[in-house]
Each structure stands twice: as structure tokens, then as C-alpha cells.
Amino acid sequence: MSVAALKAYDFPAADTQDKFHGAQLLYIGWEDHLLFCAPFAFPFPPTMRFGDVVAGPMQAAFGYHPDYAQIDWAKAEWFKSGKPFAPDFDKSLAENGLRHKDVIRFRTPGLTGIKGSCS
């Protein structure tokens, strides 16, 4: 469907990639850890190494949780738009097929939050 209007209704989208000064948005959520109330939004250059995202910004964002230090990254399960996803930590975001405003989630088997409450 489209908007009902008196005349041509054509306005630019507010969040196209060209407005982010060379960065693209990536959303990252940690399953079973709702102590962080929502997935995070990050602006990263497409050339950034996936492993650097995990070691840097993700550590800073999720590190408050006592489970984060216990993560065995070899066992983590990844999802992109809800479907299984196998990121290569040595490749860039773009090389991993991640585009502007993609959403990825990770599950850390055995780690289910504060007292197993998914918090």
C-alpha cells in the first residue's frame, strides 16, 4: 500500500548509508541476556574486521555482564536476520556479507544470564 496524499509524495529516507560519514549501521543482540534492554546499534566502517568488532566495541558494550568474560567464541552461534550465520573473524564486515542496517544476534550456549533468568 502507499500513503494517501493530495499530490506526489516522494521524500528521501532519513537513514540511508550515505548520511553516516562512511560508516554503516550494524545492530547486535545477545540472546538470553536481557540485562541489556535492547540490541545495540553501532556505526562501523564496512572495512572493519569482524574480530575487531567483537574485541573492541562489543567488549565495551556487553562487558558489564559477568557472563561476557566466560564466552567461548568458538561455540557461539550467530544469526543474521534470524537465520544461521557463520562470520569469519578475520574478514571485514563487508566481506562477511554485512550491509547497512543488518541485524545479527549471537547465542552463547551454557550462558543464560543472571541465575539462569535470561537477564
Binding site: F11, L34, S81
Partner: protein, 517 residues
């Protein structure tokens, strides 16, 4: 000699006819569609504007007289409240955060409602609805003003309210109520009337004003309570107008029914998402609770709203389908919202805190199916950490829903352990949503919602720093720059209640008022 016969006074009905419909005329040298350009494009068909029933028969002269009388009384009470340091009689200083939420989240909406009803009134060719819209437009600007005046006394003593209108335009979470109303006033006049006049003022109003006003009454805030009572007679008129609008549109043409149904579905959901703020206010921010959010939803929506939609069934209108999901969320909504503000307490214009033991017991009793299982462990952890000097302040920006603009905090209907993710591809970009309902609203008018001013994305685009800021200099602190843009002072307007100036000052002033120190 001729007898002087006093001229007969007009009866109420005649007077009303003269003062409303008698003021209308049929244009002779301009076309109706040029004078009323917005009346056809939404697809609503009106065949006879005279079928409009005027439930109140209020005329403008009576309106002024009546409102002036009410406001004289209101201002007398506000003066008495202020002169007697009424702010020190509230239950506890945490309550004042409710007022901060109200002045920055709700009062600016009254002003926008004023503009919206003025616009809708101008757009309608029928004199009946035009006069009704004019009066509601005036009510709304009076409400904005009287709220600002009632609350300004608190602003003299407490933080976070000093620039509420700027906060409304800029602070991240206030884009939720702001964009809700922007969505309504940028729709056509009929959709505006269904969105605000019916869905908001009729279906959901008891969940907005009653909690704030009874919350004020329960917590010793006579100023805000008096404002609420003063507005009550206007609200009754607004509710009646909202219902009259719906019935009038539905009776005019059967083709109007599916359009109105879609608007009711959309605006019940949009309004409910805004009420997330009220839900957490009721369950967490009132030191003396009135009722739980869940109880309020059950009484005001499931019971009262259920009866309303049964009544509308004869027009072919059904209960909005989102009601099923809302019923599943009622055990979780307020807790997920409070957790969010606890997370982002460094970026809000009010304080948050962890509930104490008694309050946790209250929450567990009101929410036996969810609180102890899902939320208590989280809160206890946060409380322990805060006691160790490690209070959680989430400094990474959250992902937002494209439609309601709330962070993606809501869980899957029926599974409180999984965040609900929905997405759509549109013209080469991805758009994300908190729910099926927000997704459907987007899909119906994607051209509108792709323009959304999402605070998180705007920050990352560099649009939320004070003018002249250079984000490329070394050591640039984006959070500090954003707070400056919000005109919030770090350490004063934000952070935990426990470390707030409000808490300290209130205790000191109340001590002076009640003890010999």
C-alpha cells in the same frame, strides 16, 4: 399606549443553531473543493454534514464564561499550594520524577493537539464538527498552559524540567510521544479525528490521565491533582466528540468502515506503545501506588473498551486485533520499560532507581506470573552492583523500532526471554520493528515512516551535537555532546535518584519544615 414587550430570549437549542450553523454559508464564487481541499483524499465519504449531532450544544460565549470560572478556581488553588510549599508534602522526592515525565512527555502533546484540532476544524465543511474542533483546540492549549503553570512551581526546586519543550524535541525517548503526535497531525483530518479524537481521547484516555491524576492525589500533589480535576469536564467533552466522530463517519457510508477499522487498529496500537511510559510510571515511579498497570489495562481497556467495541459492532467495527498481543504483554510491559530507563539513566531528564524490598514484594504480588521469574534476578543483581559502587549505566545506543521509535525492548508475544525482531526490505534498505503491528503500520505507508527522525541514527549522523561541535577532535566525548544538545547537565538532571541533588534537597527542606533544626 403600547406595551413594551421584552424581546423573547432565544432558547438553548435556537441559540445553539444561531451560534453554530447560523454562522455557516454556502460559497457562491469559490468552489467547495478549493475551500476544503483536504476533505476527499483519504477516501472517506460524507453525504450530509447536517447529520452531525452535537452532543454538548455548547456555544462559544458560554465556553469562555465557563472556562474562565474554572481557571480562576484552579489558579487560586495553585497559588495556595505554592505559597504553602506544597511540594514538600509529596510522599517522597521520587514522585517528582513522575512530574518530569509528564511535563516533557505529555504537556507538549497538548499543544500539538491544539494545532491538530485547529487544522481539522478548518478542514471540515460542516459547521457542527468545526465548532466542536474549535473548542477542543482551545481546551488543548489551555491544558498545555495550565499544566505548565501548575508544574512550574516544581521547576523552582527540582532538576530536569527547566527546558521541557526542548527536551521534548530532542531527548531520545521523548521522540516516542512526539513522533506519535507528528504522525497524527500529518495525516488527513479524518484520520486525525480517529487517531486523537477517538483512539486516544476515547479509548485510551483513562489509561493516561487517570493514572497521572490519581497518582498525584495518592502522593500528595494537590497542584497536579487540581489541574486534572479542572480538565475533567473538558475531557468528558473530548470523549463524546471522539465517539460522535466515529459514529457519524460510519453512518455516512458503508465504504468508510474498512478505512476507519484500519485507523482504529493502527492508532490503538500506536497509542498503547506510548502508554508504555505510563505503565512504568504506575508500577515504579509512584511511591504510593494506585493500581498496577495490569489492573488498569484490565479495567479500562478489557472491560470498558470491550463494551465499547461491542457497541460499535453494529456498524461493522471489530475490536482491534492488537488487543490479543497487548493482553500477552501486560505482565511484562512496565518491567521491560523500567529496565530500559535504568539502563539509560545517564541520558534521561529524570532519575531512576531500583525498587526496595517492599516494592519488589508488591510487584511480585501484582505480577505473580512474571516478576520473580524474569525481573527480580535482574533487579537484585543491579542492586548488588550499585551497592558495590558499580551502578549499571548503559553507554551504547540501542536499536530502535522504525515505527514507534521505542528501543527494541519488547519480547516475543508469549516468550519473555526472547526479543521480538521483525524486519522489512524497502527500496534497498532494511527497516526493523518491535512487533508485527508496528511492521504492518510501516508496510501500509512506507513512504511516510522511512522519514522517521530516529534519535539513535540522528546521533550517529552527527545531527545531535551543539552547533559548531567537531566530532573528529581527539578525545571527543559523544555522550557529553549529546547531553549538551539536550540541554541536560550531567550529574544533576540525569543518573540514579540515590545520588541526586533532588533527593538531598528534598530531605533537607522537609527536615526544615518538620523539625527544629
Amino acid at each position: 399606549m403600547d406595551m413594551q414587550v421584552a424581546k423573547k430570549k432565544l432558547g438553548l437549542k435556537e441559540r445553539y443553531a444561531v451560534m453554530t450553523r447560523g454562522l455557516d454559508w454556502t460559497p457562491s464564487y469559490q468552489k467547495m473543493e478549493d475551500i476544503y481541499p483536504y476533505i476527499a483524499y483519504e477516501g472517506i465519504k460524507i453525504h450530509d454534514w447536517d447529520k452531525w449531532e452535537d452532543p454538548f450544544r455548547l456555544t462559544m460565549d458560554a465556553y469562555w464564561k465557563y472556562q474562565a470560572e474554572k481557571e480562576r478556581k484552579l489558579y487560586a488553588i495553585i497559588d495556595a499550594f505554592n505559597q504553602n510549599n506544597g511540594h514538600l508534602n509529596v510522599t517522597d522526592a521520587r514522585y517528582i520524577n513522575t512530574i518530569k515525565l509528564f511535563i516533557s512527555g505529555i504537556s507538549p502533546l497538548e499543544y500539538v493537539a491544539h494545532r491538530g484540532f485547529a487544522h481539522a476544524g478548518r478542514a471540515f465543511p460542516g459547521p457542527g464538527p468545526r465548532v466542536a474542533c474549535l473548542m477542543q483546540s482551545l481546551d488543548e492549549i489551555r491544558h498545555a498552559q495550565t499544566q505548565v503553570h501548575s508544574i512550574s512551581n516544581y521547576n523552582k526546586y527540582y532538576n530536569g524540567m527547566h527546558d521541557f519543550h526542548q527536551a521534548h524535541d530532542r531527548v531520545w525517548f521523548l521522540s516516542v510521544p512526539k513522533s506519535f503526535f507528528d504522525d497524527a497531525i500529518t495525516a488527513g483530518p479524518f484520520e486525525f479525528m480517529v487517531s486523537i479524537g477517538f483512539s486516544f481521547e476515547y479509548v485510551l484516555t483513562n489509561l493516561l490521565f487517570v493514572p497521572f491524576v490519581s497518582g498525584a492525589a495518592y502522593n500528595g500533589d494537590m497542584g497536579t491533582m487540581t489541574f486534572g480535576f479542572s480538565a475533567q469536564s473538558d475531557e468528558a467533552r473530548h470523549m463524546t466528540l471522539g465517539l460522535e466522530v466515529i459514529k457519524f463517519i460510519l453512518e455516512q457510508d458503508p465504504a468508510n468502515v474498512p478505512i476507519v477499522q484500519r485507523w482504529i487498529d493502527k492508532w490503538t496500537w500506536r497509542g498503547y506503545r506510548v502508554l508504555t511510559l505510563v505503565a512504568m510510571m504506575m508500577d515504579y515511579m509512584l511511591p504510593k501506588r494506585t493500581m498496577s498497570w495490569k489492573e488498569a489495562w484490565e479495567v479500562y481497556f478489557e472491560e470498558n473498551g470491550g463494551a465499547l467495541f461491542k457497541d460499535l459492532a453494529r456498524y461493522g467495527i471489530k475490536m482491534p486485533k492488537c488487543a490479543e498481543q497487548i493482553a500477552l504483554e501486560k505482565d511484562h510491559l512496565s518491567h521491560q520499560a523500567w529496565s530500559t530507563f535504568y539502563n539509560y539513566a545517564a541520558a534521561a531528564n529524570f532519575h531512576t532507581w531500583m525498587p526496595d524490598e517492599d516494592e519488589m514484594a508488591w510487584l511480585a504480588a501484582k505480577y505473580p506470573a512474571s516478576f520473580d521469574k524474569h525481573y527480580r534476578p535482574r533487579y537484585e543483581f543491579w542492586r548488588e552492583q550499585a551497592a558495590k559502587g558499580n551502578r549499571f549505566y548503559n553507554k551504547t545506543l540501542p536499536m530502535l523500532c522504525q515505527t514507534c521509535q521505542i528501543p527494541m525492548i519488547f519480547t516475543e508475544p508469549g516468550d519473555a526471554t526472547k526479543i521480538c525482531y521483525r524486519e522489512v526490505d524497502y527500496k534497498g534498505d532494511k527497516y526493523h520493528f518491535c512487533s508485527d503491528h508496528c511492521k504492518e503500520i510501516f508496510e501500509h505507508e512506507p513512504e511516510k515512516y522511512v522519514q522517521a527522525w530516529l534519535p539513535v541514527h540522528q546521533i550517529y549522523q552527527g545531527n545531535c551535537f551543539p552547533e559548531g561541535t567537531d566530532p573528529t577532535v581527539e578525545g571527543f566525548d559523544p555522550l557529553a555532546a549529546v547531553l549538551e544538545y539536550y540541554k541536560l547537565e550531567h550529574g544533576r538532571d540525569n543518573l540514579d535518584f540515590d545520588v541526586s541533588e533532588d533527593k538531598k534537597n528534598f530531605a533537607e527542606w522537609r527536615g526544615q519544615a518538620t523539625k527544629n533544626i
